[in-house]
């Protein structure tokens, strides 16, 4: 597994493209817990995200959950496919990125894959 991939305790993943750019999504475990997603509220291009703070929310039929940013930076791109097809997250959570962040100035508490796997086993 690549060294660029990290996870958070709140079940997001972040894959660094370079030092200051990364893609963010939610984990396979998170999508399984949430069940069938019916809508995803995403930020807009140019919005600032802050490590540890909510930048999006995901809706299932009877619940809504926050998605927290693993890093601080500026939203460079938004995966607009998710707006029409939230089920993409259910199909392959690691591929269905939410946002691409640039100018990353700060990282939150990040876990390696091994650490994250251990966390969800508990």
């Amino acid at each position: 597994m690549s060294k660029e991939l990290y996870f958070t305790k709140t079940h997001e993943w972040v894959r660094f493209i370079d030092e200051t750019t990364a893609r963010v999504g939610i984990t396979e475990f998170a999508q399984g817990e949430l069940g069938d997603l019916v809508f995803i509220n995403l930020p807009e291009k140019g919005d600032e995200v802050i490590a540890g703070e909510s930048f999006a929310d995901v809706e299932s039929v009877k619940a809504v959950s926050n998605v927290y940013s693993p890093v601080s930076g500026t939203v460079r791109a938004v995966n607009e496919n998710l707006l029409d097809q939230p089920e993409l997250v259910n199909m392959d959570a690691m591929e269905a990125w939410f946002i691409e962040v640039e100018n990353i100035s700060e990282k939150g508490e990040l876990l390696t894959e091994e650490e994250y796997m251990k966390l969800i086993e508990e």
């Binding site: 019916v38 809508f39 929310d57 809706e59 299932s60 039929v61 009877k62 619940a63 809504v64």
Partner: protein
């Protein structure tokens, strides 16, 4: 005393014993003594059903039911087809809860789905919610819907019903949105004034069609100005008028709202009424309140459910854009039955009749010295006139004849009356009133 408790005293005692208690008082032993009520409630002794009926009829008798009404101003007496009252009196509709259990609530869900479709047809919009409290709260919710991160200012025309404006003010007070009033000119929204007020912080523009004075606004001009901008165009409209008048969608509106009371709901001293809300598909997820959607069950049968619920308060809690839980389900059904009964032609007829009677009324009133139309613009079924003497005196005399005259305006129009006619007003009624008015010195 009357009661709806079916269990007899003996049965109650047996049930108490079954759970190991000896008296009703024991049931409340967990309530701290200091908050227990030691006295009896200060409410008269209960009554038999017959006594209640007599007493309530006496109270109702203290009100005056006018034979003839020439007053509108947001509440209209239209003809209500007999089928409407019968259908909506069914116990299963009256006593049901919100249709959360879809499997046993298909009737109510389908009725709302049909209502939503009819509201979309009336307004030309793509999506409608299941309704809100009334026209004013629908307008306030629409204004809140239009909020964007950088756009928080609502521009509301001075020609919108003042009660709607006041309600919006209350809703926005204390939030990060604000309201500014677009001035009026000759009884219409001042288009140049509007243009000068538009800015990067403008969230929406709200106009009413026909407006408070009954006049037809230049909705196309507003639509033209707002086209291509991020500013939401909200139009509040009279649903009966939409039988013949241009739809909010044709004007380019993003959100259509209005008071649904004219659609088969009685005057009812102001409530319950019906606030309808419809919007473009783009704004679907911003609509507040309940929405019914069509889907299928496991066997592929057509099914209806409350949908897009994650927008709502019971899930989103403090992040919900509105706190509304209920809709006016029974009133929405009333409107749907009314529209089904009237049909396209019937509704157009009601609209044309209302407009024709109002124009005849205006013509006849203006025959009287001192009565003149205050505004020259085209109107639907309401209009403002001057009065040749004290307006209150005129209204008192009409009242003695069983006629509720025009609404006495305040402020700069003090002394003027806002008149209204609908299909229920006959030529005879109008001629009769004009005769009475001519005799007032």
């Amino acid at each position: 005393m009357g009661t709806y408790v079916p269990n007899t005293r003996d049965e109650q005692q047996l049930m108490l014993e079954a759970i190991g208690l000896s008296s009703m008082d024991d049931l409340f032993s967990t309530i701290p003594k200091e908050v227990r009520l030691n006295a009896s409630l200060d409410i008269p002794k209960g009554m038999s059903e017959m006594e209640v009926s007599v007493k309530m009829r006496k109270i109702a008798g203290m009100n005056k039911v006018y034979d003839t009404v020439f007053r509108g101003c947001g509440a209209y007496r239209h003809y209500i087809p007999a089928i409407v009252k019968q259908v909506t009196s069914k116990e299963e509709f009256i006593t049901a809860y919100t249709p959360y259990q879809a499997e046993i609530s298909q009737g109510i869900l389908q009725s709302i789905f049909e209502y939503q479709t009819m509201i979309c047809e009336l307004t030309g919009m793509q999506v409608s919610n299941a309704s809100v409290y009334d026209g004013a709260t629908a307008a306030a919710e629409a204004v809140i819907m239009s909020r964007e991160k950088s756009r928080k200012k609502a521009l509301v025309s001075a020609t919108v019903n003042p009660m709607t404006i006041e309600t919006i003010r209350t809703y926005l007070d204390g939030t990060d949105m604000e309201m500014a009033i677009i001035p009026e000119k000759d009884g219409l929204t001042d288009i140049e004034g509007l243009m000068s007020m538009l800015g990067d912080d403008t969230a929406c523009v709200l106009i009413q069609q026909p407006n408070f004075y009954g006049l037809l606004e230049d909705g196309d001009a507003v639509g033209g100005i707002l086209a291509g901008t991020d500013i939401k165009y909200i139009m509040s409209c009279n649903p009966i008028s939409l039988g013949i008048l241009k739809t909010p969608a044709e004007y380019g509106a993003d959100i259509a709202v209005g008071e649904g009371q004219p659609l088969g709901i009685g005057l009812s001293f102001g409530g319950p009424y019906l606030g309808f809300m419809a919007a473009t598909e783009k704004l679907m997820r911003r609509l507040p309140g309940r929405i019914v959607g069509e889907t299928t069950d496991s066997q592929g049968r057509r099914a209806f459910v409350l949908t897009l619920q994650a927008r709502e308060q019971h899930i989103r809690r403090e992040k919900a854009s509105s706190n509304i839980c209920s809709n006016q389900a029974l009133c929405a059904m009333t409107a749907a039955v009314y529209l089904a009964a009237m049909g396209r032609e019937g509704l157009a007829q009601a609209a044309k009749l209302s407009m024709s009677k109002a124009h005849y009324l205006a013509d006849r009133l203006c025959e009287i010295d001192g009565y003149e139309l205050v505004y020259k613009g085209e109107f639907f079924n309401e209009f403002v006139t001057t009065v040749n003497t004290d307006a209150d005196k005129v209204l008192d005399i009409l009242s003695e004849h069983g006629i509720l005259g025009g609404y006495p305006l305040d402020g700069k129009h003090k002394g003027c009356l806002l008149w209204c006619a609908t299909e229920v007003n006959t030529r005879e009624e109008i001629d009769n009133m004009v005769r009475i008015l001519k005799d007032i010195k």
